[in-house]
């Protein structure tokens, strides 16, 4: 974990410094009457200090590295597919409406998510799942699902 801890603590240190810089742009108030920037600055400084401790601890620690890399060499493509599909869903949901977006999302996830399912399965499953979610959430629970440009 040594290298990982060093890298990750440096990332947090950067984040902490960013918090501090941004907190300074807020009214800090005084110790008698702390302003809105007071607590964020305090936790920013604390986080920075802790990140440094974490970094130093990692340097002293044993340098045994876990085998392989931290991400799965076979599966990372699937993860990218899933994330892109989720983001795309968020982008198109309001335009295409719930039914079409959900159908497309599920097809992508069934086909490219983990193990490619057969097309018939993927399409059939996606149709059934999106229609039943629509029935439960829109018709039964009256959740306001987005209608989209097509009106459903």
């Amino acid at each position: 974990m040594k290298k990982y801890d060093q890298t990750s603590s440096l990332v947090w240190l950067g984040f902490a410094l960013l918090i501090c810089v941004e907190s300074f742009r807020l009214p800090l108030g005084s110790i008698h009457d702390p302003g809105p920037g007071f607590l964020p600055l305090l936790v920013g400084v604390l986080l920075a200090g802790l990140s440094v401790i974490c970094f130093l601890q990692a340097r002293k620690g044993p340098s045994a590295e876990p085998k392989g890399s931290w991400y799965s060499t076979e599966r990372w493509k699937n993860l990218v597919w899933v994330l892109l599909a989720l983001l795309a869903y968020a982008v198109v949901l309001d335009y295409l409406g719930f039914l079409i977006s959900t159908f497309l999302l599920l097809i992508v996830l069934f086909r490219f998510g983990m193990e490619p399912q057969r097309w018939a399965w993927a399409i059939g499953g996606s149709v059934i799942a999106s229609l039943s979610c629509y029935a439960v959430f829109e018709l039964w629970l009256r959740t306001q699902l987005p209608k989209g440009i097509l009106g459903f």
């Binding site: 009457d33 799965s72 959740t143």
Partner: protein, 499 residues
């Protein structure tokens, strides 16, 4: 006599048909989702939280309670049958529960865990009824400094008990507090870190953060790992433990209940530590400690009772002080705030129906789980067999719909996805999500208490050390913080260790 009139109120609330129905639905759905691989109680509750927004607060919190107990039990089912703990509190159950399942004794293991939970729940409910009202009266004396110190202690205990590095857990608590400050400042009305985003003006929502950190990230990790687990229940002919099983289990159940309940009240730890402590105690008092780890029923009965008693004990700080002892309680606090209920020492007085209704629901919920699970085990097993490549798109879809339906805001969906990635990376680099979430929920309360205390004292930090209750709480917290540095003190207990 106060005890009996309270008991009467509790049952009159929970036995109303609609509350009974919501409790039942909660238990059923909670178990159903808790059984799904990779979804523990936290993910289950956050997934179902939006669906409770449309019902009245008392029913909503009763249903959420049911979901909680159901999800806990669902976690035990997966521990015993598939050796996957649904959540940290049922890690110990895997040790002997899974071995029992391999020996064809999955039925008694599941049975004793349900009965143990029921007995523990019953006793814990009585203890809560005795302890909560006096505690709330004491808490009425609390001012901002005491609240600040108590929350500080809560966060410290949580980081102290973190299974990994304490420094990392403290870092996560800082990040959580920072995230909680995003949005419009309560006192001055100034926007903080919003960058003119309309979505951020009200602060980052609790639900997108939790669902990202505990729901989406779990799915991503499972896709990454893609391991196939073997399921052992070849036949589940007899669920009921035998007389011998009972004889072996009854004392562990009672001991587990007491250990669990009192550890559960402490902010920060709760069910996880309780289950480990109970396992360690049972192993120590057993005449045949060598049987532990190879299917000893005491190793299931004790910890299962302990984690149930602890998860009920955890309601005490929430309902009397307004301070969540663990992540699930933090979500419940969020839910109560969304329903515009003021949580704190006045809750028992202002909302007796809610307080006693929740307590009643614990009792009825435990009974329901018992009745529900004896006939339904077969169905849960079948659900466990759904292959993950088919299951995970549906889990993701529920997360998406759940978050979107809260405010119909697409940016909250994006926030959830973002926290899903963050949660995935945190797991990979061994940072824990629990301190982050608890700190995130406590952040606004903590900040108000801190600023009000400093205004009270005119900027003098000694206000936290001159008031006796506050001094005591801070002293305990500081002791916990420095104790790992002191030589000669035993290494702090780690979640993964088994004494």
């Amino acid at each position: 006599m106060e005890f009996f009139s309270n008991l009467h109120l509790a049952f009159s609330v929970i036995l109303q048909p609609d509350n009974l129905l919501f409790c039942f639905i909660g238990c059923l759905i909670g178990t159903l989702i808790g059984v799904l691989p990779g979804l523990g109680p936290v993910a289950t509750i956050s997934l179902l939280l939006p669906s409770t927004f449309h019902i009245n607060p008392v029913s909503a919190i009763i249903m959420l309670g049911g979901i909680y107990y159901g999800a806990m039990y669902g976690g035990s089912i997966t521990s015993i049958l598939v050796n996957i703990p649904g959540e940290a509190a049922s890690v110990v159950t895997c040790l002997d529960g899974y071995q029992m399942a391999r020996q064809g004794r999955a039925g008694p293991a599941l049975g004793i865990s349900a009965f143990g939970s029921f007995i523990a729940g019953t006793l814990a409910t009585v203890l809560i009824m005795l302890i909560a009202p006096p505690l709330a009266r004491v808490a009425l004396e609390f001012g901002p400094p005491e609240y600040f110190s108590l929350m500080f202690l809560g966060l410290t205990v949580l980081t102290y008990l973190a299974s990994g590095s304490m420094v990392k857990a403290l870092m996560m608590a800082c990040v959580g507090i920072f995230l909680g400050t995003i949005g419009t400042d309560n006192i001055s009305g100034i926007e903080r870190f919003t960058y003119r985003s309309y979505t951020l003006m009200d602060g980052i929502g609790l639900i997108p953060v939790i669902m990202g950190l505990f729901g989406i990230s779990e799915v991503l990790l499972n896709i990454d790992a893609a391991s196939r687990q073997e399921i052992y229940p070849t036949r589940l002919s007899h669920l009921l433990p035998t007389l011998r099983d009972w004889k072996d289990s009854i004392l562990p159940i009672i001991r587990g209940t007491l250990i669990g309940f009192f550890l559960g009240i402490l902010p920060g730890g709760g069910a996880v530590i309780a289950s480990f402590a109970s396992y360690a105690v049972e192993k120590k008092v057993s005449k045949h400690p060598e049987r532990f780890g190879s299917g000893a029923i005491e190793g299931v009965a004790g910890p299962e009772s302990a984690n149930n008693a602890a998860s009920q004990g955890a309601f005490i700080p929430l309902l009397t002080l307004g301070i969540p002892a663990n992540v699930v309680m933090a979500i419940l606090l969020g839910a109560l705030l969304i329903h515009n209920i003021k949580v704190g020492p006045l809750l028992i007085k202002d909302n007796p129906n809610l307080f006693w209704g929740v307590l009643g629901s614990m009792y009825v919920g435990n009974a329901m789980l018992l009745i529900l699970n004896v006939p339904l085990i077969g169905i849960w097993v079948r659900i466990l067999k759904i292959p993950y490549p088919i299951l995970f798109p549906l889990i993701l879809l529920f997360c998406l719909i759940g978050v979107y339906s809260v405010n119909n805001n697409i940016y909250e969906v994006i926030i959830m996805i973002l926290f899903g990635v963050v949660g995935y990376l945190m797991k990979k680099f061994a940072y824990e999500g629990a301190p982050l979430i608890l700190a995130f929920v406590l952040s606004p309360l903590l900040e108000n208490a801190l600023r009000q205390s400093l205004i009270m004292s005119g900027g003098d930090f000694s206000i936290f050390f001159t008031r006796p209750i506050s001094l005591f709480l801070i002293a305990v917290a500081i002791f916990l913080l420095v104790s790992p540095l002191l030589p000669g003190i035993k290494r702090r207990p780690k979640g993964g260790d088994l004494a």
